[in-house]
Subunit: 308 residues, 2 copies
C-alpha cells in the first residue's frame, strides 16, 4: 500500500507554555530556563516559551518577563509567547519576542469559560493586536480550541471549524493550530475535519495540536500526515492538559511524536535523547514521572514515584 507522507515535519514545542501552565506545580524560573535551553539544544526550532497573561490567571507563568528576557537566541530558532490582549502584546514585544500566539475556540461556552469573551469579541480583540504585531514584523499563530468536540457543547461541525480558521486567516494569523483540546478525536475525525479544511485552506496554514487523553494522539498524527500536514504541536514529556476542559490529560508528548516520525523516515531535526533529558529536568523538579511512553522508556536516573 503506497501512501505519501511529508519528508519533513515541523514541531512546535509547547511544553514550556501549554505544558507548564496546566501543571499544578509551579516550576522555578531557573529550572524553566534550563528546560527551554535543553529543548533548544535538542534541535527544536519553534518553542513556545511562556504566556503574557495576568499572573493571577496563570500563576505558573507569572515569571513570563524574566523567562522571555533570559532566552538564549540562536539563528533559526524562534521563541513564541501567547498573548491574551494588548497589554500582553506590549509586554511580549518589550521582551523581544518575535512570534506571538492568540487563542480562541469554536464554541461560545468554551470561549466564555476560558477567556471570558464571546468568540466574536475574541476575534475583534485580536485584530488590532495582530495588526500591530505585523507592523513590527512579528508573526502570529492562532490556537483554535475544540475543533472536534467541546466539553460543554459536544460534537463540533467541520463547517464551524473552517469558518473560524478562515476568520483567523483573514485577521492576519499565519498559522492556525487545529486543537483537540480534550483529546477525544480519533483518526477518522481528523480525516473528516482536517481533510475538509484543506479543501479551502493552504496546507502550511494548518498545524495540528493533539492531546493524548485517550491515547489516540499518534494515530491522529498518522492521519494528519496522510493529509499532507507538516506541522504538529507537542509538549516535552507529555506535560500539560487544560484546566478549563474537564477530563483533559497531557498534550501529545514530543518524545512520542519524534520517535514515530523519525522511525517513519520523516525528518524532524530533533535529537530524541536530548528531549528526554529536557523533560527529565521538569520531572526531577516535580518529583514525579511524566506521561510520555517514550520518556518512560528512555529516561535514566530520574526519581520515580510511580511503579509503572
Amino acid at each position: 500500500m503506497k501512501i505519501q507522507f511529508p519528508k519533513q515535519v515541523h514541531i512546535v514545542e509547547v511544553g514550556p507554555r501549554d505544558g507548564l501552565q496546566n501543571e499544578s506545580q509551579a516550576i522555578p524560573t531557573d529550572v524553566k530556563l534550563q528546560f527551554i535551553q535543553k529543548l533548544a539544544d535538542a534541535g527544536l526550532t519553534q518553542i513556545e516559551a511562556t504566556s503574557f497573561v495576568h499572573p493571577k490567571a496563570i500563576p505558573q507563568l507569572a515569571d513570563a518577563e524574566e523567562v522571555a528576557k533570559s532566552l538564549l537566541r540562536k539563528p533559526g530558532l524562534i521563541y513564541s509567547a501567547l498573548v491574551p490582549n494588548e497589554k500582553g502584546l506590549r509586554r511580549a514585544l518589550d521582551c523581544g519576542i518575535r512570534r506571538l500566539a492568540v487563542f480562541t475556540a469554536t464554541t461560545e461556552s468554551f470561549t466564555r469559560n476560558n477567556i471570558h469573551m464571546t468568540v466574536e469579541e475574541s476575534l475583534q480583540a485580536f485584530a488590532p493586536i495582530i495588526r500591530e504585531a505585523c507592523a513590527n514584523g512579528v508573526t502570529v499563530r492562532g490556537y483554535l480550541s475544540c475543533c472536534f468536540v467541546c466539553p460543554f457543547e459536544g460534537a463540533v461541525s467541520k463547517h464551524r471549524v473552517l469558518e473560524l480558521a478562515q476568520r483567523l486567516l483573514d485577521i492576519g494569523v499565519n498559522q492556525v493550530a487545529i486543537s483537540d483540546t480534550i483529546g477525544v478525536a480519533v483518526p477518522t475525525d481528523v480525516l473528516e475535519t482536517v481533510g475538509f479544511l484543506l479543501e479551502k485552506l493552504p496546507t502550511d496554514f494548518v498545524a495540528l495540536h493533539f492531546h493524548d487523553t485517550y491515547g489516540t494522539a499518534l494515530a491522529n498524527v498518522f492521519a494528519g500526515l496522510q493529509l499532507g500536514i507538516e506541522t504538529f504541536d507537542s509538549s516535552a514529556g507529555g506535560l500539560g492538559g487544560c484546566p478549563f476542559a474537564p477530563g483533559a490529560a497531557g498534550n501529545l508528548a514530543t518524545e512520542d511524536l519524534v520517535y514515530m516520525l523519525e522511525k517513519m523516515g520523516i525528518d524532524t531535526g530533533v535529537d530524541l535523547q536530548k528531549v528526554v533529558e529536557a523533560s527529565s529536568i521538569i520531572a526531577q523538579s516535580m518529583g514525579r514521572d511524566l506521561p510520555s511512553r517514550v520518556w518512560r522508556r528512555l529516561k535514566t536516573g530520574t526519581p520515580s514515584s510511580s511503579p509503572d
Copy 2:
C-alpha cells in the same frame, strides 16, 4: 480523503494469558476468574485464558487447570490457551479447551531464548500437536514473534515473516498473530510488512498483535485497518510485556483499542466500561495503576499508587 475501513473488528483478549504471565505479581486464581468473567460480560468473544506451560517456567499461570476448568461457557464465546508441547496439549484438551495457540518467532536468537528450540524445531514440534488438535475439532492460532524487529538480531525482513507465516498456515494454524513483540513498530512498518503478507495470505488468516512500549500501538492499528485487517489482539488495562524481550512494556490495551474503534464507527461488540471494570479487578489485586490511557481516564474508585 476517503479511506475504507472494516465495519467490524474481532478482538482477541490476551490479558489473562499474555498480560498476566508477564506481570511480576501473581494473581490469585479466584481473582483471575472474576477478571475473565467480567471480560466475558463485556462482550469479548475470544479470550485467551491461560497457558499450559510448565509451572516452573511461568509460575504466574501455574493454576492453568483450575482456571480452565472453572471458566463459565456461553454460546459464541471461545476461550483459548497457549500450549508449548504435547503435554500442554493433553492438559488443555482434558480441561475442555477448544482453541489452542502455539508460539514461535522469526529469529533463531529469540526462539532459542524464549522456547529453547530452533525455529525449525518449533515448527516440527507443533505439527503433530496441531494435527491432533484438528482431529479433535480444536482450532489453533499461531503467535509469530518479532515480525518487525528482534531485540537480539535487529530489523526483520518481510520475506522472513511471510515465510514463517506460510509455514504456520501449512501445518494447520488457522490464524497467525503478527506480533511486534518489543513494541517498536511504526505505521509505515505495518504498511510495508503486513501489506506484503496480504499479497500472499488471506486477510482473515492475519491478526495483528501490538505492544505499546513507545505509544505507537494505536497508530499501527490504524495502519492495519487501512489494509483491511479485521482481527487485533489486546490486553485489558495494557497488562503484560515480555520477560524475554529487554525493554518491552505492556500490550496494546483493550480499552484504548475499543475506544478508538468504536469512535471510528467500527463495531467491536464490546462494552468499554465493563472492560475498565475488569481491569480494575487486577489493578486492585496488584495495588497499582495500569498503563491504559483510557482505563486511567474512566476508572472509578481504584486505589492509585501513582500520581498521574
